[in-house]
């Protein structure tokens, strides 16, 4: 949609137009994808290639008494069956927060003594055919001695609970605090308190985990679907190899969403290829992926909010507990993001926030689009809705009274350095949504929900993040970009091309980008934390600008004009006037060559660094945030509790849309994934035993389930990414569940406190609301302090 001055203040209207950036362009990857010719990780075969299989634990908590692999080794075609004893260094210690306070808990590559979740790898097999590998896997005999386990965070935190790891069930306990919370609550005229719970969900990228490992010129090489080629170092450690003897090549992924941020097949194919000295391919079955791949953390979020009668927040308490599953993975960082974003886009003078990651005997949880900052939206927006209801204010009013602004301090004590247009996103989204829905028949209830968010992009500043890009102008005027960036489908590589095309005036078709190779590309860091446009986009901008600066004096000399007047546009180098003499790019490259001026540049962008003090809960966290508002209209069947989404509008300030076509796609996809999370998706595990075993049982939204997602973009031009862009990959999923919950609240009269909002739960809410209307006091699970004091 085009934003007009009657909805948005003129200073927030789109940033000035550019030649290439900001245009709805189709890139190289789109063409290959739509032709079906892009080779993904599983589309790779080598001579003599073996097929790998992981043998996984069948019980959630046990001592491994013995593993018998003799029969498996005897299956014709089996080249190797490896167990813990065969792993040179059978321990991965992930210190995800960089050592700011989590317990250092090792995860074995293959479990040798103890099993901690159903699906934990205990052996790996390579065979000449997948059938032989499967047959061998069936013949691996494991003798377990069952041990007591813990299957939810409440049980895990009880005193005397069975320990998942000897160091205890709490992996990390973050604290962020500011002001005087007791005084803030004393000052409050109303206090709203509620407990929100979210579920475990699956990334469900359409491309299952896959890769091929082989030895190339003495280097163990993995061609794998991964967001992070830097795992090469971890793989080297596992095999006791020098780090420069392991190379990881990331394929273009068929979706990642954080699920390919931790290693998936890598350690297993690496081990098998190293032992057999043959290429080994592994593709996880979908059913295996459902059981054993990392998931999104279920959260328990206990919130307490104090407000003045006009809606102004005086105090804010949040106690967040995330279920980490059996091993750390990235949980410390996920829970940190939850803590840092626990107050949403609101000004909170007095805050006390804690966020724990707790071990249970279930599949590990780790990165998933939104990364902790997403789950808390249900809670902080739920609090705002409960406050609005209590005070008789509209959803918009109570939010407007509390939005943060540029220059405000967050509870961590850090300053918001860039424009905050969350209020504009709210007004734009509401204007776009128009008239609220009305029930189309007496058996239906309707409601409109609004939810806003503040979600980060970029790694926390204490990681001293950096990304490099290497650009070369070839003799024929084409441009070669090399970057260690990985592309999970969001156009990560394409955006670098668009930025370079803008700066150097080289047509997009004349740009080739080589990515994701730990040996041949300059390091860019992984594609996670919505960091690549910010980091590698800035690196690409810097490289292109430096390359231009390197070539401009040559052009100036040849054209006899001032260096400052040399412009690079549409393949012409010279004065930016149609009739002025100019050089073509090949002519300029030839002139540079004759003068010994290099046409290649390697540049590194370094994000500003700062520190955080985990004891005081004060310091610097994320580089910047993306803000947005979503509006959802729903219709609910009174009899079945089924929620039908009628309308969905999403508005974000993206700073500057490098390619609006892809930005819209990111927002639409994020919303759809969020709708699945809000309403249909759940990985069910009962007493440690997975119940969601088939893809048919896991309800990923289909084309028929939800309406079009209408996207409104605001371009404030104030992001910290290249040319003022902000990251959008993760922020787009943030407000969805909260918007649906708010719409259900408006329709039913009570606020849903759990996701997914299944028909059963919504029906129970309807019954509770009807009961509440009949018998006073039987209200929502949420209660207010004042109410409690009265009874």
């Amino acid at each position: 949609m085009t934003l007009t001055p009657d909805v948005v203040a003129p200073e927030h209207l789109p940033v000035e137009a550019m030649d290439v950036v900001g245009r709805r362009l189709v890139h190289h990857d789109f063409v290959e994808k739509v032709k079906g010719s892009l080779a993904y990780a599983a589309d790779w075969q080598l001579p003599g290639m073996l097929f790998g299989r992981v043998v996984r634990a069948q019980v959630p908590s046990a001592r491994l008494v013995s593993i018998d692999v003799e029969a498996a080794r005897g299956v014709p075609g089996v080249a190797a069956v490896l167990t813990a004893a065969d792993v040179p260094h059978n321990s991965i210690v992930e210190v995800a927060s960089g050592g700011l306070g989590e317990a250092e808990v090792p995860m074995p590559v293959l479990a040798g003594e103890r099993v901690r979740y159903v699906g934990e790898p205990i052996a790996v097999i390579a065979a000449t055919s997948l059938q032989a590998a499967d047959e061998a896997a069936e013949l691996v005999t494991v003798d377990y001695e069952d041990l007591p386990g813990v299957y939810d965070v409440d049980a895990a935190l009880e005193s005397g609970a069975p320990l998942v790891h000897e160091s205890g069930n709490v992996l990390v306990n973050w604290r962020i605090a500011c002001g005087d919370v007791a005084a803030g609550f004393g000052e409050a005229e109303e206090i709203v308190e509620a407990e929100y719970r979210s579920q475990r969900v699956e990334h469900a990228y359409l491309e299952p985990e896959a890769g091929v490992a082989y030895i190339d010129n003495g280097v163990l090489t993995l061609r794998v679907a991964t967001q992070v080629i830097e795992h090469a170092g971890t793989i080297a450690r596992i095999l006791n190899l020098p780090m420069n003897r392991v190379r990881v090549i990331a394929t273009y992924m068929g979706g990642g969403f954080g699920g390919k941020e931790d290693m998936t097949v890598e350690p297993y194919i690496a081990l098998l290829a190293w032992y057999t000295r043959r290429p080994v391919k592994m593709v996880w079955d979908r059913q295996e992926s459902l059981v054993a791949s990392t998931k999104r953390h279920p959260f328990v979020m206990r919130y307490r909010t104090g407000v003045k009668r006009d809606g102004t927040i005086t105090a804010w308490e949040a106690d967040i507990v995330g279920d980490a599953g059996a091993y750390p993975c990235l949980s410390p960082r996920v829970l940190f993001a939850a803590a840092a974003c626990a107050c949403g886009p609101y000004r909170v003078p007095n805050a006390a926030i804690t966020a724990k990651a707790v071990f249970t005997n279930q599949v590990p949880t780790s990165a998933f689009r939104g990364f902790g900052a997403m789950q808390v939206t249900l809670a902080y927006e739920g609090q705002m809705d409960l406050v609005a209801e209590r005070l008789g204010l509209s959803a918009a009013e109570v939010r407007e009274r509390n939005f943060v602004a540029k220059g405000d301090l967050l509870p961590t004590g850090e300053l918001l350095e860039t424009a905050v247009h969350v209020s504009d996103t709210l007004r734009v989204a509401l204007a776009e949504a128009g008239e609220p829905p009305r029930p189309s028949s007496p058996g239906l209830l309707t409601g409109r929900g609004v939810a806003c968010n503040r979600q980060p992009y970029g790694r926390t500043r204490w990681f001293r993040d950096r990304a490099s890009a290497w650009m070369t102008l070839e003799a024929d005027g084409t441009l070669l970009i090399r970057s260690g960036i990985t592309d999970l489908g969001g156009g990560q590589a394409a955006s670098l091309c668009q930025i370079a095309a803008e700066v150097l005036g080289v047509p997009l078709e004349a740009i080739s980008v080589h990515i994701g190779d730990s040996a041949l590309n300059p390091p860019a860091g992984g594609t996670y934390a919505t960091r690549q446009l910010y980091m590698s986009g800035n690196a690409a901008l810097k490289a292109a600008t430096e390359l231009k600066d390197q070539l401009a004096p040559v052009a100036a000399e040849m054209l006899d004009i001032a260096v400052g007047d040399v412009s690079f546009r549409n393949g012409r180098v010279g004065l930016d006037e149609p009739s002025a003499p100019f050089l073509t790019v090949p002519e300029l490259v030839a002139a540079c060559s004759a003068r010994g001026v290099s046409t290649t540049v390697l540049s590194t962008f370094e994000a500003p660094s700062a520190s955080f003090d985990p004891r005081s809960g004060q310091g610097s966290t994320f580089p910047d945030y993306t803000y947005g508002t979503h509006v959802a209209d729903v219709e609910i069947d009174r009899e079945t509790g089924e929620v039908r989404v009628l309308r969905y509008v999403a508005c974000h300030d993206v700073g500057r849309a490098i390619n609006p076509l892809r930005v819209e796609g990111q927002v639409q996809g994020g919303v759809m994934q969020g709708l699945g999370y809000a309403l249909t998706e759940e990985i069910v595990i009962e007493d440690g035993v997975p119940q969601s075993m088939l893809f048919a049982d896991y309800l990923v939204p289909t084309a028929l389930d939800f309406p079009d997602v209408e996207v409104c973009l605001i371009e404030s031009g104030e992001g910290k990414g290249p040319l003022g862009a902000r990251g959008i990959g993760e922020p787009a999923i943030g407000p969805v569940a909260a918007a649906i919950a708010a719409a259900v609240h408006q329709a039913v009269g009570l606020h849903p406190l759990r996701t997914p909002m299944t028909p059963e739960r919504v029906l129970a809410l309807i019954d509770q609301a009807d009961g509440g209307r009949a018998t006073a006091g039987a209200g929502p699970t949420s209660t207010t302090k004042k109410e409690q004091e009265k009874t």
Binding site: K33, V34, G36, G77, L206, Y275, V283, G490
Partner: protein, 179 residues
């Protein structure tokens, strides 16, 4: 003991491999396959048709969609031998069914490009083939509801379907010609 097994060059004892004749994208292929090989195995691994992709093995996700005598089917749910004597079309064969002479892609694929109806691209071949078969069957412009109903067997986790539906509508509209 060595972790390396013995007799690794042998194959598992099983039914005899058989010779199959498959007609794919207008070309006849003779392939040797196991009776248990799925159509997906043979198309992807033997014939090198990378656009026919394993996504779930349950017939739920649609990434292995091919046209069997013009109708979309999940290649993971069929044995290769069941496709003998039938006409198979995968995405790379679509251009021959309606593209301009010498064109790189079918007009429906061009509509996907123009609308930006993809991101990771893994589900795209299946979506395009399912949409193509719908438009052929309807013979005119399918309604949004019909499009969404037809695509229900092709999951997309990236786009949210909005642009996919727009692309199909655009194609059907251009095919039906000006009103």
């Amino acid at each position: 003991m060595s972790p390396t097994g013995e007799g690794e060059e042998n194959t598992v004892a099983r039914a005899e491999p058989m010779r199959l004749t498959l007609q794919v994208n207008g070309t006849v292929h003779d392939v040797i396959a196991e009776p248990s090989d799925t159509l997906l195995d043979v198309l992807h691994d033997r014939l090198g048709l990378g656009e026919v992709r394993y996504g779930c093995g349950e017939g739920v996700c649609g990434t292995c969609t091919v046209l069997l005598d013009g109708e979309p089917v999940s290649a993971c749910l069929m044995l290769a031998l069941q496709a003998e004597g039938r006409e198979l079309t995968t995405l790379s064969g679509l251009v021959a069914l309606g593209g301009e002479p010498g064109a790189e892609m079918h007009p429906l694929q061009e509509c996907f490009l123009e609308e930006g109806a993809l991101q990771c691209g893994f589900c795209t071949p299946g979506l395009v083939l399912a949409a193509y078969s719908l438009v052929e069957r309807v013979g005119g412009e399918p309604s949004e509801e019909e499009i969404r109903y037809e695509l229900v067997g092709n999951l997309c986790r990236c786009t949210g379907y909005t642009k996919v539906v727009q692309a199909v509508r655009r194609y059907a509209g251009s095919k039906a010609g000006p009103k």
